[in-house]
Amino acid sequence: MARKVSTKRKLVMTAIAWTLGLLIFFPILWTVLTSFKSEGDAIASPPVFLFFHWTTENYTEVQSRSDYALHFWNSVIMSVGSTLLGLLIAIPSAWAMAFSPTRRTKDVLMWMLSTKMMPPVGALIPVYLIFRDMGLLDSRIGLVIVLTLINLPIIVWMLYTYFKEIPGEILEAARMDGASLAKEIVYVLTPMAVPGIASTLLLNIILAWNEAFWTLNLTTSKAAPLTTFIASYSSPEGLFYAKLSAASTMAIAPILILGWFSQKQLVRGLTFGAVK
């Protein structure tokens, strides 16, 4: 029987949830608002919230100065490409570790995670030199490879925890009924793991989309994604907040929309296995 929740409690919880939600969303809202201000209004003190002269001149300026479409496609290719490549490698390895663990499985998992503990700048020069010698600097392939490697530990870990939640008995039962390995994977495991795989996919696309260290350092122009597009609007001398906000809004809009439409899947995946 469900617990009875009083109206008062409901109201309080709703208020808290909304406050927290708005608090977290506020920086993004402020960025969007600033992108419609003039540079003068953007630095006004005290800051103006809604009652300013709305203008789209920042967007026009950004459009005329940068090749947004090129940066956008580079971001799409590198985030989707690296995630798919990562899944291709991570699914079999997570599968193996979840269903036939050995004595060293836990160590291997820890070791994988430990690679995330080093500050990336520590590996910049060696990676840069390797990329230079292989001709991968400023190439989309190079970015896909490096982002795959960076996010691989997270993909493996996420998939491993999802697969762990699937009871081995179900697989055994399928085997008892005479299912081959292929059938077992396609008809039994995959449908059960889909929410997990989907949320891993989405989360990694978002992580790759927002990656700003490697993408800034390994690209110059041809393969430069939206992160470099944003970086080009920051200035040490001169006002740039409104234009920078317009560029940021244009850069986060696609991923925000993707997140909006897939939030159900994302939440389901992230809480998958938490409640039985």
Binding site: S38, E39, G40, I43, A44, S45, R65, L124, I125, Y128, L129, R132, L137, D138, L216, N217, T220, S221, A224, T228, A231, S232, Y233, S234, S235, P236, E237, G238, L239, F240
Partner: protein, 439 residues
């Protein structure tokens, strides 16, 4: 089809592909107004130089510095032309990382002798020019005429630090959020240390003595830092330890500062009525001095250089000659007016009556630039070059670490004495590690 037709077709296809594969120059630059304007005017260059295409990579200053340094140190060849500061140029030139611009210096039409002497000297190593200046700047005092009138003060053309401090305290009215003076406080070798090193020069301080011994334990530095911290406490805005150029620009433009001592390039922003609320009330004066013969102004320029070993030197030279020529200044004047011409590179610009008329800050800029001497920055002799920096590779790290100490002193987290002691210790340690004094 006869053999002749096939051959003809093949030859014309080759010819076409030859035309299509124009040489592309990748240019790394900073996001400053003058550079953005240059990007918009490149059609003029392309029309004069068919076959050369331009690809711009615009980055924020710190990101640019990191990217360009990695690229040139690893000889990756990602950029054909780099925008670099007057700080890097002599260091990289000595390292053999840059291609000397001999063609420009020997070209009579380019007229390298017209380049402003302090800037040309800062970009020259062993008689060779390693980068061509695109725009140059110094620092000066910007002040509010209305607030000065109200307080019954008159800004001299060449103020002293005592006058500035006195005026700042008189103007300050914290109740109405009017602060007498806004100065940089944000830690960084190019942020607060640019201002403080230049100021220290006018107090007679120096970074190192002739034997490369750090000098933060000397009274001149204590006087500088004491003066700065006390003045900012009495007459500065709250939270000044996180203010850099842009934060102070915002404060000044919204009418919160009586004075602001910073880059001459700010003059065009604060007098622009579209951005600044105080545009018609701004006056200018030279950076202050202490009667010791040196003013507290710096010298900076952004320059275009070609990495050594580049395969496109010839095309790159053509571009640099175009972007830093007298003709380019005329082109900007024709399109956007004389006030928007990149300042601080050529003597002839300051002799041009039209420019003098359009840019009210022209005289102040040229006087400030010409009074900065990178080879003799301060009162006592020094073993280094550079007015607001020390032109050695280690300076970026040391300068920023010292800047953090001084920023903490401004915020009141440590005392002035402690900050100087820490600065002395860390500079001694880093310099010993770097092997100074070098023979």
């Amino acid at each position: 089809m006869t053999l002749k037709t096939i051959l003809l077709g093949a030859v014309s296809a080759l010819a076409l592909s030859g035309i299509a594969s124009a040489e592309t120059l990748t240019i790394a630059t900073v996001n400053n107004g003058d550079m953005i304007r240059m990007q918009k005017l490149t059609d003029d260059f392309k029309a004069k130089n068919p076959g050369i295409d331009l690809q711009w990579v615009t980055l924020e200053e710190n990101v640019l510095r990191q990217r360009v340094t990695t690229d040139i140190a690893t000889k990756s060849g990602q950029y054909d032309i780099m925008t670099i500061g007057i700080y890097e140029t002599p260091i990289w030139g000595k390292q053999g990382w840059l291609a000397p611009l001999d063609k420009l210096t020997s070209d009579a039409k380019y007229d390298a002798n017209d380049l402003l002497p302090p800037i040309r000297s800062g970009l020259t190593v062993d008689g060779k020019l390693y980068a061509a200046p695109f725009y140059g700047e110094s620092s000066m005092v910007m002040y509010r005429k209305d607030l000065f009138d109200k307080a019954g003060l008159k800004m001299p053309e060449k103020p002293t630090w005592d006058f500035i401090a006195d005026a700042a305290r008189k103007i300050t009215d914290k109740g109405s959020e009017t602060y007498g003076i806004c100065l940089r406080g944000k830690a960084g070798w190019g942020e607060n240390m640019a201002f403080l090193t230049a100021t220290a020069n006018s107090f007679g301080a120096r970074w190192f003595d002739e034997n490369w011994k750090p000098q933060f334990d000397q009274p001149e530095w204590k006087n500088t830092l004491d003066f700065y911290v006390k003045l900012m406490k009495d007459a500065g805005p709250p939270g000044a330890s996180s203010n850099g150029f842009n934060e102070n620009l915002a404060l000044f433009q919204t009418g919160k500062c009586g004075m602001w001592i910073d880059a001459t390039v700010a003059a065009s922003f604060v007098t622009n009525p579209k951005e600044s609320k105080v545009a018609d009330q701004v006056g200018f004066a030279l950076a202050p001095d202490n009667g010791l013969g040196k003013r507290g102004n710096w010298l900076w320029s952004w320059n275009l250089a070609i990495p050594a070993g580049s395969k496109k030197v010839e095309a790159a030279e053509k571009f640099i000659a175009w972007a830093t020529s007298k003709d380019y200044l005329n082109l900007v004047a024709e399109k956007d007016g004389w006030a928007n011409v990149p300042p601080g590179t050529r003597t002839s610009l300051y002799q041009n009556p039209e420019y003098q008329k359009a840019a009210s800050f022209a005289k102040m800029t040229i006087d400030s630039i010409n009074s900065a001497d990178p080879k003799h920055p301060t009162v006592k002799p020094v073993p280094y070059e550079g007015v607001q920096y020390v032109a050695i590779p280690e300076f970026q790290g040391i300068g920023t670490a010292v800047g953090q100490q001084f920023s903490a002193a401004l915020a009141g987290q440590v005392s002035v004495d402690q900050a100087l002691k820490n600065a002395q210790q860390l500079t001694e340690r880093e310099m010993a590690k770097a092997g100074y004094p070098k023979k």
